[in-house]
Amino acid sequence: MGIVKIVVGLMTIIAILSSLAGAEDYRLPSNPVEGSRIFINKGCIKCHAIKDEGGTIGPDLGKVSIGGTLLDMAGVMWNHAPYMEGVMKQEKIIWPVLLGEEMASLIAYLYFVNYFDEPGDPAVGQALFVSKGCIKCHSINGSGGKIGPGLDKFKQNASPIVITQAMWNHGPQMSAKMSQLAIQPPQFQGKEIIDLLAYIKTQAKGRIAGGTAYMLPGNPQEGRNIFVEKGCIKCHAVRAEGGTTGPDLGKRATELYRSVNQVAGIMWNHGSTMWAKMKEKGIEVPKFSGKEMADLIAYLYFIRYFDKPGDPIKGPRLFSDRWCIKCHSIKGEGGKVGPDLAKVKGISSPVDLAAMMWNHVPIIYKETVKQQIPWPQFQKGEMADILGYLEATQEKPK
């Protein structure tokens, strides 16, 4: 008996792992900003704001960080659902129904919001320009060192990432120059780099041909490709996949869940170490052009977004602990109020399941009230656990 149980358990684990591994790349959004339209169209905006713009009934989703993995965020949505349902009923707003893809897109968008920098303070930036020693080599408006190029040559309205990208591309040279001149390479903490960029941006004098220099926001999928193509993967692993010279970025995911230029700053800070290592290994330092750096950082930003595979032991336990079993059955076992969850059709990923749960909130809520069941709350990771379990139990069409 015991052995059989273990075998079945192991098989389940393998099934879950393989399904999640397959789903991961699929979920990496190509244009996370797309979700902003779902945010508007589905009426989220009536209650929620993003960075001060939008409704005031719910919290400003650009300010509260509900960051976490995709399914964790779905879990947060779920946990607040009864409250939202109440408010929406009061305001006579229709419960928004989401497709799995839409839900993924929406969550990706909400996750992505913090990728964009808060505007820096040019005044602080000006001070940093001096205190970090940039002024020793670079000039702005003719004042400053002549070793490096004048920094007012940047184009007006150019994205700051263009500047950080240029910094990175010239990094090895600068680093060499600095060690030559015995200057300590500057390190940027927190938002310092953003302030500095804001300052440089205000001083930009370059003209833009065609009227614009705006960039499309980073594309994580592209970023993944760049990560591979530019050879980052040779040293860095993401979740154990890749080289081991550098740290596994999957483990540093929280650190990389920052705005684009902060991440660029982190890269810069580690620059001299990396370049040294590369020189050592004889790897050419990768150069970025266009929006490659933005894409790369978008990928790094999204590392944290991937769910860890669900815990196959916790999954079934949650199913009964969180009272799901009172209404739902799996393969005939459990309550008969709701449908048998093993027989639900049209599921290709846990997000589809999450969307389905979300869509049925009003019905489920009514039922929980009727049966006096408390609203099931899911902690970090638990959503992945339970959805993973549910997906694994799906009766796959043969």
Partner: protein, 810 residues
């Protein structure tokens, strides 16, 4: 989609009462009853209900509209909620737009004059014949190598249509594109040019202002884009956290003054003096924004130029000459009020001063106040709108004749060294052109303008038109000027045509609306753009190559293709999308809601427009295009323009002030030379009610019906007199009163209004047409007939509120 509507009108007709008639037998009885009863049935529009987004053109405001259609009939116009100019709101003019489409007196096809000019005898001809006639005429002119003798006069038009008209002239070989715009509605653009070096793009960030000091600018009635101002007004009153104060300084208690927190009556034409008085107090009390002045202004303090000559600065002039006492005696505003205004204005930031496009020194005085509080290019102050992208059309290669023709001097060019700031004078050129100065016109094209009605000298303009051998009007309506034309090639109304509508909003960012046909043309009319292209093709040669598309819609698509290629902005959207775009743009990102040009064009039609909702502060280079690259209290541009003039020339153009003062904001009385104050004791103040601002909507009965909120002032024109004064003159409410100026007299119905100054009489402008269909013709009177029309000495722009009149009972 609403489904099909099938509801019968009037089925509930009272058949019950026909009982007595039924005695003759049901059929006969019913017939007799109906004949006596005189009722009829109305056909019901049926069909699918749809909505189409387009752009309003009842005024130049550029609001987005959503037209509700039932079948092929347009039944209601509402604001497009996505459109950033109006956000779903619409003014009464926009609402009554269907009355322009379904106007029974529209011109229904090309007309050719038969009989005397202005006799109103027309013959319908085919489009082919009409176009052939024009081509023949133009070819004649070309053969004579006098291509410069044609001109196009165009009203409020912009974007591609203007580009096409200009291009046509250029390719044909004429410099004479004459844009006639409604100056009453613009802000102090001349001051904007002289002090900031920019000819357009002046916007007031009303939504963020806390204190709005309006010097006679009737914001709520005759601003160029009414809905924007009305929206902003509602917003600053209650929607945002703090409530802005609005002060209206004006001789008449207009609607703006009524709705403002305070109305300050002022002697007409002295607004500039009050502004200088306020400036005096601000400087004296040290309330001005020294930071702004230090960093961004020129000519505030006394200064020494390169050749070591010392010059007076604004500060010195104002402190010396405009003490509150003096200003009070000029303006009639009590000293304590001036002091209060100055302190409030200086301390309630952000504050903004809004003026009119009156005489240049006054414009400068008002605009200088904005600099004194640092409200230039700052939230809640004066913004400089970002450029609207102008997609390029392919270059043209005019032939020799055309090149020569295009290099001729502009026909409306002012006489040498007169009206220094005017490139050309749309208001007076016709009168001059009729004398053969600088040359005679052979052909004139009128597009969206009616100079006979809107000019100050209708008889003069009519006489001038008489001397032009060939006049073509593109008007959809039989207006006064079209009556004088030889050929009328009627355009579609705005609800039947394709057009782009570039405009900027009060937040200073560019928008391009797409106007598209909501109904197929009702009559045999044709898009003027198509006509122009057809003419060009008919004329052949380099002209034919000048136009990229075979007709206007194709050209428009080409134009938007170019816009797409520029890779700027996005389709218009909700407020959130505006904020989101801004948020992205701040970091240098852009995430358009379309990928391909086809998608762009498709979704553009659905949404109604394109925008780039971005404004950056502190772009000094963009905001100050003056020689000093700063805000110039001391206008070096003006100095440069005037510099060449000798003393006697200055005298000749009527500028009394000399020296540095001439280039600084100052005040001088604009006194019409021939006016006799004793004989004509009152000043005539002409204003524009909202419904007729722009002077094109008088033929719409819904608008005639709401000319004024007050009784008995609809479908008519009236004169507003202070009751005390009326008593003195023995005039009572409703009397007919003669208003006599040196130029003539007209009678108006008297309205006694407490909100009129005792020495000023007010008359609304907008009615008094002699044509334009049943709802405009011979309704009310046009006060412009008695206006003297003095010209501003520097710009040559007519000043309409300088006429003195006497009034007496008819």
């Amino acid at each position: 989609m609403m489904g099909i509507n099938r509801r019968d009108f009037l089925t509930a007709l009272g058949v019950a009462g026909g009982g007595s008639a039924l005695a003759f037998g049901p059929q006969v009885g019913l017939k007799v009853f109906q004949t006596l009863w005189g009722e009829d049935w109305v056909e019901v529009p049926t069909g699918l209900e749809t909505r189409i987004n387009s752009i309003c053109q009842q005024c130049p405001g550029g609001c987005g509209i959503t037209v509700r259609l039932v079948g092929d009939r347009a039944v209601k116009i509402d604001g497009n909620p996505f459109y950033p100019i109006n956000r779903g709101g619409l003014c009464p003019k926009g609402q009554s737009g269907l009355q322009s489409l379904y106007d029974p007196d529209r011109i229904r096809g090309p007309l050719k004059r038969v009989g005397e000019r202005g006799a109103g005898k027309w013959e319908s001809i085919s489009w082919d014949d009409a176009i052939k006639t024009v081509i023949t005429k133009l070819q004649e002119i070309r053969e004579k190598k006098e291509t410069h003798t044609i001109a196009i006069m165009a009203g409020e038009t912009r974007g591609l249509m203007q580009a096409l008209l200009e291009r046509f002239l250029l390719a044909f070989g004429s410099p004479n594109y004459i844009r006639v715009s409604d100056d009453l509605a613009a802000g102090p653009l001349d001051a904007f040019y002289l002090m900031q070096g920019l000819k357009e793009g002046l916007v007031y960030d009303l939504e963020q202002a806390n204190y709005i000091l309006s010097f006679g600018c009737d914001l709520l009635q005759s601003f160029w884009s009414p809905v924007q101002v009305l929206r902003a007004f509602g917003y600053i009153r209650r929607e945002r956290g703090s409530r802005a104060r609005v002060i209206q300084i004006e001789p008449r208690q207009s609607i703006t003054a009524t709705k403002a927190d305070e109305w300050i009556p002022i002697n007409p034409g002295t607004e500039g003096a009050l502004a200088l008085g306020i400036a005096h107090l601000m400087i004296r009390e040290g309330l001005h924004d020294e930071n702004f002045i230090w960093n961004n202004a020129f000519g505030f303090e006394d200064w020494i130029d390169d050749s070591r000559i010392s010059h007076q600065g604004f500060k010195g002039l104002v402190l010396k000459e405009y003490s509150p006492g003096i200003v009070s005696s000029i303006t009639g505003v009590p000293v304590d009020v001036i002091i209060r205004l100055a302190r409030e204005f200086a301390t309630t930031k952000p504050a903004v001063a809004i003026g009119l496009r009156g005489d240049v020194p006054s414009q400068m005085a008002v605009h200088a106040l904005n600099a004194l509080v640092g409200s230039i290019d700052s939230p809640g102050g004066v913004l400089v709108a970002r450029d609207i992208p102008v997609p390029e059309l392919p270059p043209i290669e005019p032939d020799e004749i055309s090149q020569k023709g295009a290099q001729m001097p502009h026909i409306a060019q002012p006489a040498k060294e007169k009206y220094l700031l005017a490139d050309y004078l749309p208001h007076t050129f016709l009168e001059r052109a009729s004398t053969g100065e600088p040359y005679k016109l052979e052909a004139l094209f009128l597009y969206q303008t009616n100079p006979i009605f809107s000019s100050f000298n209708p008889e003069g303009v009519a006489g001038a038109l008489d001397k032009i051998p060939f006049i073509v009007s593109f008007s959809s309506f039989m207006d006064e000027s079209s009556q004088q034309a030889d050929l009328i090639l009627p355009d579609h109304t705005y609800l039947e045509r394709w057009q782009d509508d570039p405009v900027y909003n009060l937040k200073g960012y560019p928008i391009i609306g797409l106007r598209r046909p909501v109904v197929s043309p009702l009559y045999d009319t044709r898009h003027t753009g198509d006509v122009i292209i057809q003419l060009a093709r008919g004329l052949g040669g380099s002209l034919a190559q000048a136009f990229p598309g075979k007709d206007f819609p194709e050209t428009l698509q080409y134009y938007f293709q170019k816009l797409f290629e520029q890779g700027r902005g996005d389709l218009v959207g909700q407020e959130f999308e505006e904020a989101w775009s801004k948020l992205l743009a701040r970091g240098g990102w852009r995430s358009p809601s379309y990928q391909t040009a086809e998608e762009f064009w498709q979704r553009l039609q659905e949404k109604g427009g394109w925008w780039e909702p971005i404004y950056y502060y502190g772009e000094g280079e963009r905001v100050f295009k003056t020689p000093s690259q700063r805000f110039e209290f001391y206008s070096q541009i003006l100095k440069e323009r005037v510099g060449v003039l000798a003393e006697e020339r200055l005298k000749a153009i009527g500028v009394q002030v000399r020296g540095d003062k001439l280039f600084l904001p100052h005040w001088e009385a604009v006194k019409p030379p021939e006016s006799n104050e004793e004989q004509y004791p009152f000043i005539l103040n002409i204003y524009q009610p909202l419904v007729f601002a722009g002077l094109i909507n008088a033929s719409q009965p819904f608008l005639q019906g709401i000319t004024s909120p007050a009784p008995l002032e609809r479908w008519d024109c009236w004169i507003e007199i202070n009751p005390e004064l009326a008593k003195k003159l023995g005039i009572s409410y409703g009397d007919q009163v003669w208003v006599e100026s040196p130029r003539g007299k007209l009678s108006f119905r008297a309205k006694l209004v407490e909100g009129a100054m005792p020495e000023v009489v007010n008359i609304p402008l907008g009615v008094g047409h002699k044509a334009l269909g049943r709802w405009a013709k011979n309704i009310g009177k046009n006060p412009l007939l008695i206006v003297e029309g003095h010209l501003e000495p520097l710009t040559g722009r007519p000043l309409i509120n300088t006429t003195r009149v006497k009034i007496y009972r008819a």
